[in-house]
């Protein structure tokens, strides 16, 4: 159904539903993470950080893969829609990737007795991924016409997405150069309530990602509309100036003086 009143926010029924789900989901996740789930035999209570760290890592991957897909489709279809998707997703991916590095570092201190380990391939490849997305967003700030800017950024977006399998598989490919364990989800070692809380974390972070993505996409679309309008306005202004100059004999006389 088409809205009749003037739209003042990027909010819609879908985002409101997701927002209400988050208002219920976040406190529930906190209750399960801090009160109901058990401490781990090896990590003690530090395991409670995993319920936010791991889901954010997975959705950082999802965001950056979305940027890669958006970039490929932009280069293929030259569609502004795909470029806006890629841009929105990269910004959220940067946010999540940054938080993964910070929460991972905070978790590493009590668990591994270090904030950071340069010899750990998972840490270093994640940092490289973060810097690549930062580069993608920085490239979008370089003044250029919208098509050229999108084309340049798309190339970086695709390279960043190609980095995802390297980050994800690094603990298996270089297992002697990492403090990280292999996937705990697939080896069946997690207790029921731990596993449930982790999946709840995936659902909450997943809904947060979709909510942010929807709003950020709409912001990007509106910004592109304003930019297009601005460029069209400047062209129209120049054409009007040229036309009025040609029609007005005084214009030429003034110019000759």
């Amino acid at each position: 159904m088409q809205r009749t009143e003037k739209q003042e926010f990027t909010t819609s029924r879908g985002t409101r539903f997701m927002g209400i789900s988050l208002l219920i989901g976040i406190p529930t996740l906190l209750i399960f993470s801090f009160l109901l789930s058990p401490a781990d035999d090896n990590m003690d209570d530090a395991v409670r950080l995993i319920y936010v760290h791991v889901p954010m890592a997975i959705f950082a991957y999802v965001a950056i893969i979305t940027t890669g897909i958006g970039s490929v489709f932009y280069l293929w279809k030259k569609s502004r829609w795909w470029d806006t998707v890629a841009h929105a997703s990269a910004e959220i991916g940067l946010m999540l990737c940054g938080l993964v590095l910070v929460t991972g570092s905070i978790w590493g201190r009590p668990t591994w007795n270090t904030w950071w380990e340069w010899g750990d391939v998972r840490l270093v490849t994640t940092l490289v991924l973060f810097l690549m997305i930062l580069g993608y967003l920085a490239l979008r700030q370089v003044p250029a016409n919208p098509d050229l800017r999108a084309k340049r950024a798309s190339v970086v977006g695709i390279i960043a997405a190609v980095n995802i399998p390297i980050v994800n598989r690094s603990v298996e490919w270089w297992e002697n150069n990492t403090l990280h364990q292999k996937s705990s989800l697939t080896d069946g070692k997690l207790e029921n309530l731990t596993l449930f809380t982790l999946f709840l974390g995936f659902i909450v972070v997943g809904i947060s990602f979709l909510w942010l993505m929807t709003h950020r996409f709409r912001v990007g679309w509106l910004a592109a509309e304003i930019e297009t309008e601005g460029i069209a306005g400047v062209i129209e202004e120049r054409l009007n100036e040229a036309n009025s100059g040609a029609a007005n004999p005084n214009y030429q006389q003034k110019d000759d003086v």
Partner: protein, 49 residues
């Protein structure tokens, strides 16, 4: 509970950062919707709206 300081730091940094980012995006959206004519505001509603 062991490592409570680390837990609180990790969770609060995550929740606060995401909340601030979400607030900034929504505020930016509000500013931009006022600048763009309604007939050019595509993709702004769910299909059920």
């Amino acid at each position: 509970m062991t490592h409570l300081g680390y837990l609180l730091a990790g969770w609060s940094i995550s929740l606060i950062s995401l909340s601030i980012y979400a607030w900034r995006v929504v505020r930016k959206g509000k500013q931009l919707t006022q600048q763009v004519p309604q007939d050019r505001q595509r993709w702004m509603t769910s299909s059920t709206d």
